[in-house]
């Protein structure tokens, strides 16, 4: 169910963005769009099917611990 919704949203956004980019021959922009959408889609999909995805909060917390340890 959620996966269907995800694909639907992706499809709508693609239909909204891609045609005008192709028409204007903005290939770099198109590539950037596809990369970021692909990243978001993959991460969301992995999370939905239960694969452990990276969590920036753990990076932040690790960094915080490191900074605190610097000050003793």
């Amino acid at each position: 169910m959620n996966v269907i919704g995800l694909v639907l949203v992706l499809a709508v956004v693609c239909l909204y963005e891609i045609p005008s980019l192709v028409r204007q021959k903005l290939w770099r922009e198109l590539a950037a769009f596809l990369c970021v959408s692909g990243l978001a889609f993959t991460l969301a999909l992995l999370m939905m099917i239960g694969v452990d995805t990276p969590n920036p909060l753990t990076w932040l917390e690790a960094a915080a611990k490191w900074i605190v340890s610097l000050f003793g």
Partner: protein
């Protein structure tokens, strides 16, 4: 509205102000986990003072670099590779910030209002709408922010001002109970939130002038700092020690607003701030992330990146925080906030140093304006979208499906009631009985046939182990979904109250539908169930009748002590004060005559009287104040609104007729305060109570002449002073006998002399019991009604005894 091509100072200020809205009106991270809340407003001011130069630094750097954005500046000053790395870090930071905003607004909706809705629905909708706005550029965001910021300013102001009757400024004392040290963490948290304004370094290229950039920035820091400090003060003044335990303090603050007992449910105000303010803040951050990444990738336009980044934001918002506890912790103290603020400050410092090193060789390049003309239509469409988001409700509640609970009673269990279905397993001693009165909507409406003859309410009782279990079990017998915001009364049976009420009160603070303004009462010598059989002849529902009786008696006699759940819990949670609540008693009542004619009504078995107060120690009922003692309490704490005291008339008039010797004095206004008098060594504590009142002569049995007899006034004043003093003394003596400090004498010691309090608090009840009150009363009799002197009964000579 005219569309200027450039962003004005006011628009920039509005954008940055809205960035501060979510941490203020939602989680209020400064308050979470703090030991005390009194000094937090000082931390807010300190954070503002610290933040002004920091944020001005950002603006000044952009201005000095010819209004370039942070990506351009760092690439030029640090070289393409290092500069791009810094730029990507900024993009990551904005993504995390966007995820935070998204999660916080969705979490607020799910926690506070629509608990049944999946949080995903809010996230996706909010992200879509915000991305839609972001895609249209900073011009549209700027214009919308300018409109919305005013609305939010007004709504936050209303939030602070409207709970006026619940604000107790003395809750702000002592200002710094644990010294300055505990303020460090909230100050750091607040500063880190102010640093979110770094997004101004992306907006700079669209500014109309460098001066506007600086002005808008400083304006927003000062205004949001003032808002933050006053909001913190208001929350603390209303909720006292409770405020650091609340999940959505501003929301709960709007929940307690009640204007003339009619206008309620004003939390809509806060919800508007959430939707508009946080939605636009999210749009700003998404826009910044998209523009920054487009610049880093050397793209000609950023628009295609907005929706994909929005999707990434939704992912992060779900992935980063498994639960709310996690979420709350990540914004406070030594955590994510620290890292991001250090990152921003480090980036600023590096850029400034690089600029200083490079200044000789390089001049700044001109601003790059990538603006598009935004259309009003787009603004209106986007606004419409946001509004539709706030009204289209998933877990909506239609009025026809609701049963309005108007009063709730709590008793110890007598075993399962005949309503009970599913057996409550477990120790019968741990069971409680919960009685509710639900309005019958069909029988309130008075159509053409006149008011219905049915009883307009339905009483039902269930037993359960916890409050919420009882509430849920009611759904086994109630065809309508019970709806709690209109619950006026929480009535507790004497037996249950003696066993402690703290365990049951948690539900009332935690639940979304219950209100902290609900009145608390205890049934003297009876059960709540029995009280709920009582009715008031003049009102159709006992709950409404009880509410009006409470108002009446407090305004005419002051012989009852009124308390809301908030008052009760604050007293329970504060050091040096014990809770007090209404005392209700059941009066068996039968009509002495046959009811005939049109009045067909189920027999009224009993009615109720509200008088006196129930005295708690901790959360357990320990005794009662009678009506006179309750008024004594009201004198001491300054809650007497009006009263009638009967005193003896001057001697000479009494001699004339001993059977007509009384004068009734009506209190027009009164004040009462108390202040501890502590000897220098802190050992000897006395309590100085000062009461002042104005009164007028309300009725006089003997002949009195207020025009000629000047000493009459002073005589009556002395009499009244004595009467008030004895009532106040009686209440203090009673509380001392019960060893329950309902006045908050201990709290006053704590507020005025926190150090002395630390020494005495362990033996406070003993000290309290031996405390010698010094009561000073001053009374002014200012009026004598519509008469200057009494009318003499004319005496004619002749037969009879004569005098």
């Amino acid at each position: 509205m005219t569309i200027s091509h450039k962003t004005t100072a006011r628009q920039l200020g509005s954008i940055l102000l809205l960035l501060r809205v979510s941490p203020m009106t939602l989680t209020m991270p400064m308050m979470i986990g703090m030991p005390s809340s009194q000094g937090l407003w000082i931390a807010a001011i300190a954070a503002t003072v610290i933040s002004v130069p920091l944020v001005a630094w950002m603006a000044a750097l952009c201005r000095a670099e010819g209004l370039d954005d942070v990506i351009g500046i760092s690439r030029r000053l640090l070289g393409t590779i290092v500069g791009s790395a810094v730029g990507w870090l900024f993009v990551l930071y904005w993504l995390i910030l966007a995820a935070f905003e998204l999660r916080s607004v969705s979490e607020a909706y799910v926690t506070g209002v629509m608990t049944a809705t999946p949080i995903m629905a809010f996230m996706v909708l909010t992200a879509l709408v915000s991305a839609g706005i972001a895609r249209r550029g900073i011009r549209l965001i700027a214009m919308m922010c300018e409109l919305i910021a005013l609305l939010i300013l007004v709504s936050v102001l209303l939030t602070m001002v409207m709970p006026l009757d619940m604000i107790q400024l003395r809750n702000l004392l002592p200002v710094l109970p644990e010294g300055l040290r505990p303020l460090a963490s909230p100050t750091v948290t607040a500063v880190s939130l102010f640093l979110d304004m770094v997004v101004l370094m992306m907006i700079a290229p669209s500014m109309n002038s460098g001066r506007g950039l600086i002005r808008g920035t400083i304006w927003s820091v000062l205004v949001s700092g003032a808002m933050l400090a006053s909001l913190l003060a208001a929350m603390n003044a209303v909720f006292g020690p409770l405020s650091t335990a609340l999940e959505l303090p501003a929301f709960i603050l709007t929940q307690v607003i009640s204007i003339g007992a009619a206008v309620e449910r004003l939390e809509v105000i806060t919800m508007a701030s959430w939707t508009f303010g946080v939605g636009l803040a999210l749009a700003t951050i998404l826009w910044a992330a998209a523009v920054a990444s487009a610049r880093l990738l050397n793209l000609t336009c950023y628009e295609p990146l907005v929706y994909p980044l929005g999707g990434l934001t939704v992912f992060l918002a779900i992935r980063m925080w498994p639960d709310v506890g996690n979420f709350d912790r990540s914004v406070t103290g030594i955590s994510g906030g620290l890292v991001t603020s250090l990152f921003i400050l480090a980036a600023l410092a590096i850029l400034t140093v690089a600029r200083w090193l490079k200044r000789r060789t390089d001049g700044g390049s001109g601003p790059t304006g990538g603006d598009r003309r935004a259309r009003n239509v787009a603004a209106i469409v986007a606004m419409g979208l946001i509004i539709s988001l706030s009204t289209g409700c998933w877990s909506r509640k239609e009025i026809e499906t609701l049963g309005f609970v108007v009063a709730t009673g709590i008793d110890t269990s007598l075993g399962a009631t005949h309503w009970d279905g599913t057996g409550s397993d477990g120790d019968p001693g741990k069971l409680m009985q919960c009685t509710v009165q639900v309005m019958k909507p069909n029988s309130i409406t008075s159509g053409e046939r006149g008011p219905s003859l049915e009883r307009p309410f339905w009483g039902v009782a269930v037993t359960g182990r916890t409050m919420m279990e009882c509430v849920r079990k009611l759904s086994e017998v109630s065809p309508r979904v019970l709806y709690w915001p209109h619950n006026r009364w929480l009535v507790i049976g004497e037996e249950y109250a003696k066993g402690g009420v703290g365990k049951m009160l948690d539900f009332w603070e935690r639940n979304q539908e219950t209100r902290l303004r609900t009145s608390v009462g205890v049934v003297a010598g009876g059960r709540a169930w029995d009280l709920f059989q009582a009715e008031f002849e003049l009102e159709r529902t006992p709950s409404e009748g009880g509410r009006k009786v409470a108002i009446n008696v407090s305004q005419k006699l002051s012989t009852v002590v009124l308390a809301t759940i908030n008052d009760f819990v604050v007293a329970m949670a504060s050091e040096g004060i014990d809770p007090i609540a209404v005392r209700a008693e059941i009066i068996p009542y039968t009509l002495p005559y046959e009811v005939t004619g049109d009045v067909v009504r189920e027999e009224v078995k009993a009615t109720a009287r509200l008088t006196g107060a129930s005295v708690f120690r901790g959360d357990k009922l320990v005794g009662w104040l009678d009506g006179r003692e309750a008024r004594g309490y009201n004198w001491v704490v300054g809650k007497v609104k009006s009263a009638l005291l009967v005193v003896d008339a001057p001697g000479q008039s009494v001699e004339l007729d001993p059977m007509a010797s009384l004068i009734g004095l009506e209190i027009i206004r009164a004040k009462g305060t108390f202040k501890p008098k502590i000897s220098d060594d802190g050992r000897d504590i006395k309590m100085g109570v000062q009461i002042s009142a104005e009164a007028s002569i309300a009725d006089a049995q003997p002949y009195v002449d207020s025009y000629t007899a000047a000493d009459l006034w002073t005589f009556l004043e002395r009499q009244l002073e004595e009467a008030i003093k004895s009532e106040a003394m009686a209440s203090i003596r009673k509380a001392q006998e019960l060893q329950a400090d309902v006045f908050g004498f201990g709290r006053e010691v704590y507020r005025t002399n926190p150090r002395v309090w630390k020494q005495v608090k362990d033996q406070w009840y003993e000290i309290f019991a031996g405390l010698e009150p010094e009561i000073e009363v001053s009374v002014n009799i200012v009026r004598s009604g519509l008469k200057v002197r009494s009318v003499k009964v004319s005496e004619m000579g002749g037969a009879g005894e004569g005098r």
